[in-house]
């Protein structure tokens, strides 16, 4: 004796198996793998399966079949509506337009982060100047003394101005991964009502202030050496950590003052911008790390200290100009990126 359900299943067997097959193919290679016939077929079966899903729920009343079709229809639905663009093109567009646009949009928060960071540098510097024991905020006393001695004697390795050529790559890798880690902490920590970002910005700022004063207090004749060893990459690295901190503050702002939105909704909006800022920060850090590994330590014979400082200012000017102007014109006529070909294709057929 065959029930209605069994008959129905036997009737649909080939169709469902075909859909399963199509789905498996498309999930691995995308809808691009489909021929035109496949696409047409896919559209038809998708609609049939969607109708069957309702049938399974309300007429055949088979929870198992409904669950099976729910999976099939859901997967097909997401294949059709998935927004996904080419990674390389997407990244290029992000750098050309989205990152500077997001920076401009969130410039006020970035300024807050910048102010916190610079004041921490100043506080760190002045407090160390007044009493070197203040340095214990960032390092314990033995560590502080070690560092002071190092600044006196082996400053070359500290500022990475004299690395062997074969270790430059390692130095870069080290620096980049470390900085990215620090920036991840600075931005993710923002979700704890901004405390994590605040801590990261002020701690790093304070540390920078202390070390800066250590170097500068060695005497004015060493100043140019200090600046040439820190500026070429610093002009990108320091804004990067400020932007990462600002990304964290976006989370904090969403949690503390969501405005007319619900906290969840405002957190989601903040998350989008925060992650865009952070993706830009990573890019900046990679560039800065390469500079720090390969350009900053270049021998003064080929790249004199004065030239390094000039290079830094040109880089800074270019960076500011990029943030200010890039993608300016495109911004207004931004097409929605998720209107992709596959969707329109299916609608036309």
């Amino acid at each position: 004796m065959e029930s209605e359900l069994t008959k129905f299943l036997q009737d649909r067997e080939t169709v469902y198996r075909h859909l399963e097959d199509l789905l498996k193919r498309a999930e691995h290679g995308g809808l691009k793998r489909f021929t035109r016939d496949d696409l047409v077929e896919f559209g038809h079966i998708y609609r049939l399966a969607a109708a069957d899903l309702a049938r399974a729920r309300y007429i055949l009343r088979s929870p198992l079949l409904a669950e099976y079709l729910n999976d099939l229809v859901g997967r097909a639905h997401h294949l059709i509506h998935r927004k996904r663009s080419n990674l390389v093109q997407g990244f290029a567009r992000f750098i050309r337009r989205d990152f500077p646009a997001t920076v401009r949009k969130e410039i006020r928060v970035i300024m807050v982060a910048l102010i916190i960071f610079t004041s921490s540098i100043l506080i760190g510097g002045f407090s160390y100047l007044i009493d070197p024991e203040w340095g214990q905020i960032v390092w314990d006393q033995p560590m502080l003394r070690t560092y002071e001695r190092a600044v006196e004697s082996e400053h070359e390795t500290l500022l990475a101005t004299a690395i062997e050529e074969e270790s430059m790559a390692a130095m870069s890798a080290f620096i980049i991964t470390n900085n990215i880690r620090a920036c991840i902490v600075a931005s993710a920590g923002g979700i704890l009502f901004g405390l994590g970002s605040l801590w990261a910005l002020s701690f790093n700022g304070f540390l920078l202030g202390v070390v800066g004063v250590m170097f500068l207090s060695r005497g004015p004749e060493h100043n140019i050496y200090f600046w040439s060893g820190i500026l070429p990459h610093g002009v990108l690295e320091l804004p990067a950590i400020c932007i990462a901190g600002a990304a964290g503050f976006l989370f904090a702002k969403a949690m503390l003052v969501p405005g007319r939105l619900s906290r969840g909704e405002s957190l989601r909006l903040a998350g989008k911008n925060a992650v865009k800022l952070l993706a830009g920060v990573f890019t900046l850090l990679v560039i800065a790390g390469l500079i720090e590994g390969f350009i900053t330590p270049m021998d003064t014979k080929y790249f004199p200290e004065g030239a390094k400082i000039v290079f830094s200012f040109i880089l800074l000017a270019g960076f500011v100009w990029y943030l200010w102007k890039a993608g300016w014109r495109e911004e207004e006529s931004m097409p929605e990126p998720w209107v992709d070909r596959t969707t329109t294709h299916l609608r036309l057929e």
């Binding site: 029930s3 069994t6 299943l9 927004k83 704890l192 989601r268 998350g271």
Partner: protein, 265 residues
């Protein structure tokens, strides 16, 4: 047909899709599995490099800062494993890291769509904070008190973790055939069915009855008897008279099911 952990999504084609949220147990287990995989892979890479004779420490111990190229690759590889693992797999593999795959769960947007690039970035950025909070237990509280078992990263990204039960067509067909066989072999409660009063049952009850009939053979005997007793008691209570009192518990369920089907088709 919907239970308390289901989320329903209405697509643009006016189809309702159901997803079942994942509880904490599977998620924590998946996380542990992923952590294990990351650790093993990092160790494996280190051994691989050492096996090929690459020096993973300073080339010249007297010179701090002299590192081999192998070390550079190792730093970068382990960094990507540590920080990019979740992001990469969740984005490329339809919301499933290997650990989640093992547990049959996946990350999806709150509307059931596959997780997108930005959401993937957000939830894995905030993962750091969630992990930190998990050490003092707060993450678990957050997950309990959010209606969809979301951690902070999920809230910020607008994602949920849902179960992905892989039913094949054969599962459905076999279950249907099994039901047929059992229905045929059962002493058919034909007579009482014909005369049984029509009981109005709700959609939820209908789903329950259907589910029971489909699954009863897979149930342990004691569970099956207890479920049949509870379910039939509920159905019997709808009939004031004693027309069904001589039927066994399962027969009552079948009688209601058959009657209900008959009245709908």
């Amino acid at each position: 047909m919907t239970n308390i952990d289901d989320i329903a999504v209405l697509t643009s084609e006016n189809v309702r899709l159901n997803y079942t949220l994942t509880g904490m147990g599977s998620r924590v287990t998946a996380f542990l599995a992923d952590s294990l995989i990351i650790t093993l892979l990092t160790t494996a890479i280190a051994f691989l490099f050492m096996a090929f004779g690459m020096n993973l420490s300073e080339v010249d111990p007297t010179n701090p800062g002299s590192f081999s190229l192998g070390f550079v690759i190792f730093i970068i590889a382990s960094f990507f494993l540590q920080w990019g693992y979740y992001f990469f797999f969740e984005w490329m593999n339809w919301g499933q890291t290997p650990g989640k795959h093992l547990l049959g769960i996946r990350v999806s947007m709150a509307d059931g769509a596959p997780v997108d690039l930005i959401a993937c970035g957000v939830r894995n950025l905030v993962r750091l904070v969630d992990l930190f909070l998990a050490f003092i237990g707060i993450t678990f509280f957050i997950m309990i008190f959010t209606p969809r078992y979301q951690r902070l990263g999920d809230l910020a990204a607008g994602t949920v973790v849902v179960k992905r039960r892989k039913l094949t067509f054969d599962d459905v067909l076999n279950a249907a055939r099994k039901t047929d066989r059992i229905a045929a072999s059962m002493p058919q409660p034909r007579e009482p069915v014909a005369g049984a009063p029509r009981i109005r049952i709700s959609d939820a009850e209908r789903a329950l009855v259907g589910r029971f009939i489909e699954r009863r053979n897979a149930l342990p005997a004691d569970v099956r008897i207890k479920l049949a007793r509870d379910l039939s008691a509920r159905l019997r209570s709808r009939v004031p008279g004693s027309e069904m009192s001589e039927l066994s518990d399962e027969d009552v369920i079948f009688a209601v099911w058959e009657n209900d089907s008959a009245s709908n088709t």
